[in-house]
């Protein structure tokens, strides 16, 4: 179980960024009091347009950045991501297209290397490797340098390596971003398998069809704030719509109208 409590993160904008975002404000609130819970055997989707605060929220959860306020708690022991980040990292894996594997090494070497960093013994590493390499068809390429792998195989290797420690929580930023249709399907199928195994999964996406199909619950985030949380059915009922895309635009329009009114 993972509980996100009132995460707020503000960035200071440089002159260039202020010009790009057409604002006079030197600070941008990327995430504002973001709160949600994700249970075991659940895929939670953070849905929003570009710049809505999805990646910032996931980065705060995965300890890559520290929130200005708020915290994230992991498991029944409520391990604080803010105060006990080294321990917390052992419980989850964070996947994003920004995180790359060193081109010079082979999937086999990288799997062993990261396994050791997670404190696993050789037998556990081998056992997990066998399972994941078989699942993603990496065996054939286990001794090929990452630089020589196809984009799809690189992504599969990234996923396998990030799951080396069989984490309870999996955080995936834009899981199908840049993948071909076959690899994307492999990834989404695997996420469903992981959920069925009892894992807690959070993904971020701006693809409505992916969120509709894959997520048990969805949180729509716009301008750094969670605007609605619920299952697909609950969101459609609350917005009185038939599909997620339509629901999203109603919420988006409402937010922009409120902001306009406030201004």
């Amino acid at each position: 179980m993972l509980k996100v409590e009132n995460i707020t993160k503000t960035y200071r904008l440089g002159k260039k960024q202020m010009k790009l975002e057409n604002t006079k404000d030197s600070h941008k609130v990327a995430a504002s009091n973001v709160s949600f819970e994700v249970q075991e055997r659940e895929i939670f989707g953070l849905l929003g347009p570009n710049g809505a605060g999805k990646t910032t929220t996931l980065r705060c959860i995965s300890t890559l950045i520290k929130p200005d306020s708020g915290d994230v708690f992991i498991g029944p022991d409520k391990i604080s991501v803010v105060n006990d980040e080294d321990k917390a990292r052992g419980y989850f894996s964070f996947l994003t297209s920004e995180l790359k594997l060193e081109d010079h090494f082979t999937p086999n070497y990288l799997f062993n290397f990261f396994g050791k960093l997670y404190g696993l013994d050789d037998a556990t590493i081998e056992k997990n490797k066998e399972k994941l390499f078989n699942r993603f068809g990496i065996n054939e390429f286990a001794e090929v340098k990452v630089s020589q792998l196809s984009t799809g195989m690189k992504q599969k290797t990234s996923i396998a390596v990030s799951l080396v420690h069989n984490p309870q929580i999996i955080i995936f930023d834009e899981p199908t971003n840049g993948l071909d249709i076959l690899t994307a399907r492999t990834v989404t199928d695997y996420l469903e398998e992981l959920r069925d195994e009892g894992k807690t999964i959070i993904i971020s996406t701006h693809i409505m069809s992916l969120a509709s199909k894959l997520c048990d619950r969805i949180g729509i985030i716009i301008d750094g704030k969670i605007r609605i949380i619920g299952s697909l059915k609950e969101i459609l009922e609350k917005t009185n719509t038939n599909d997620l895309e339509e629901a999203f635009f109603i919420i988006y329009k409402r937010v922009k109208e409120e902001d306009g009114g406030a201004n």
């Binding site: 890559l64 995180l99 081109d103 960093l117």
Partner: protein, 409 residues
């Protein structure tokens, strides 16, 4: 500690399984040294051979004939003395003084290497003890002409001595006193001083250069490619990551320096030849175990300091390219400190200079080679450098924790 070892092993594997890196870190530096100094040696040798094999063209106007000073006292004609000094020479004799102007033009045009003009009545002047004049014309822009001139200065000196010996009954009267030179002091220390001029500079340059390539690649390169973020989401502590990186870069830097030194040792005889030594004796004073301990410890702390500096700059940079341009001023600072010490002949015994970062490393290296390093100053250098390194490691840890720095792509 386990995680630090894992990071070190990975960094080592990165370098030792990459042919390009092996080439640039361990093969090219010694090869460059061998190539540069080897070419310099070959060039110096060729030049000497060329000069030795060269057959000079010398014109002598009014070359002196036999000069009789009395019974059994005579000096043979000058021409014979010249022929005895050269195995091969194109010697032309001229008695027409009107041709002097034409011949000087030929010297100017490098057609003649040397023109020697004796007085019209040279022999009579010698006999009558009225000092005659000998003029020598050579071309300052031509090496062969210059060398012929220097050689003829010696020949003329010998000729002058033999004339003098015949002119007076007791030539010893002209020698007012004799001089004898006796070298005192520590000869080894004097030899060490020559090494202490060059080696400290080379050591710090190699240490810095060895650490630079791999250091920038290991930090800025990983940041640029996004691979460091993958490490940052594992449970490894930032301090473990920083220390693992620093130790591995230091080991690689030291090994690269060692490779450069092997190249230097290989080329030492040539180096001696270039610097005018015939057998390299001036470059081989004997250092004791304590000197080596001091040398190695100084090199060790030096490489740690250089690596931490490079890591800080690389962590701050967005790319290897940016790191390269930011490291350059530090590299120049190191080279500057080394150069400053190279020409500074006195070794400071006060402890204050041994507390100045980087400068103290060069100063201590210089003092080790010249047998002048006091134990206290050695310890001050080690302790202060370790303190500076620890401060920098602390900063690196902070930087590794900073999202602004680690994700400023």
């Amino acid at each position: 500690m386990k995680n630090i070892m894992t990071i070190i092993r990975k960094e080592m594997a990165r370098v030792f399984t990459d042919k390009g890196m092996l080439l640039s870190l361990f093969v090219l530096p010694p090869l460059t040294i061998i190539l540069i100094y080897g070419l310099m040696g070959i060039s110096a040798e060729n030049e000497t051979d060329k000069i030795n094999e060269y057959v000079p063209t010398v014109y002598i106007v009014n070359s002196p004939e036999n000069i009789l000073f009395g019974e059994n006292k005579n000096v043979e004609q000058f021409e014979k003395l010249v022929s005895a000094s050269y195995s091969e020479i194109t010697l032309k004799l001229e008695n027409d003084i009107l041709k002097i102007e034409e011949l000087t033009k030929k010297v100017n045009n490098e057609e003649i290497d040397l023109l020697i003009v004796f007085n019209d009545a040279f022999e009579n002047n010698i006999i009558n003890k009225t000092n005659p004049e000998v003029s020598m014309y050579y071309n300052v822009n031509n090496t062969y002409s210059q060398n012929t001139f220097y050689k003829f200065q010696t020949i003329l000196g010998a000729y002058s001595d033999s004339l003098l010996n015949n002119r007076i009954d007791n030539p010893n009267l002209l020698q007012v006193f004799y001089t004898t030179t006796i070298q005192k002091g520590d000869v080894e220390k004097a030899q060490g001083q020559m090494i202490s001029m060059i080696l400290p500079m080379l050591i710090v340059i190699y240490l810095m250069a060895g650490a630079m390539g791999v250091g920038m690649e290991s930090i800025a390169g990983e940041k640029e490619r996004g691979t460091i973020a993958t490490l940052l989401v594992t449970p490894i502590k930032r301090s473990e990551l920083a220390i693992g990186k620093i130790i591995s870069i230091s080991i690689i830097g030291l090994l690269s320096t060692l490779a450069s030194f092997l190249g230097l040792v290989g080329i030492l005889p040539t180096f001696a030849k270039i610097s005018g030594e015939t057998d390299g004796a001036g470059l081989s004073p004997t250092y004791g175990p304590m000197d080596y301990i001091m040398l190695l410890t100084i090199m060790l702390v030096a490489v740690l300091l250089f690596v931490t500096l490079i890591v800080i700059i690389s962590a701050y940079s967005k790319s290897v390219k940016q790191a390269g341009s930011l490291v350059m001023p530090v590299y120049l600072l190191v080279v500057g400190a080394a150069m400053f010490n190279m020409f500074n002949q006195t070794v400071d015994e006060s402890f204050v200079p041994y507390t100045i970062p980087i400068f103290n490393i060069v100063l201590s290296l210089k003092a080790v080679f010249s047998f002048d390093l006091l134990i206290t100053n050695w310890l001050i250098t080690i302790v202060t450098t370790v303190i500076y390194t620890l401060v920098l490691i602390f900063i690196i840890q902070k930087m590794f924790r900073s999202e602004k720095i680690m994700f400023n792509k």
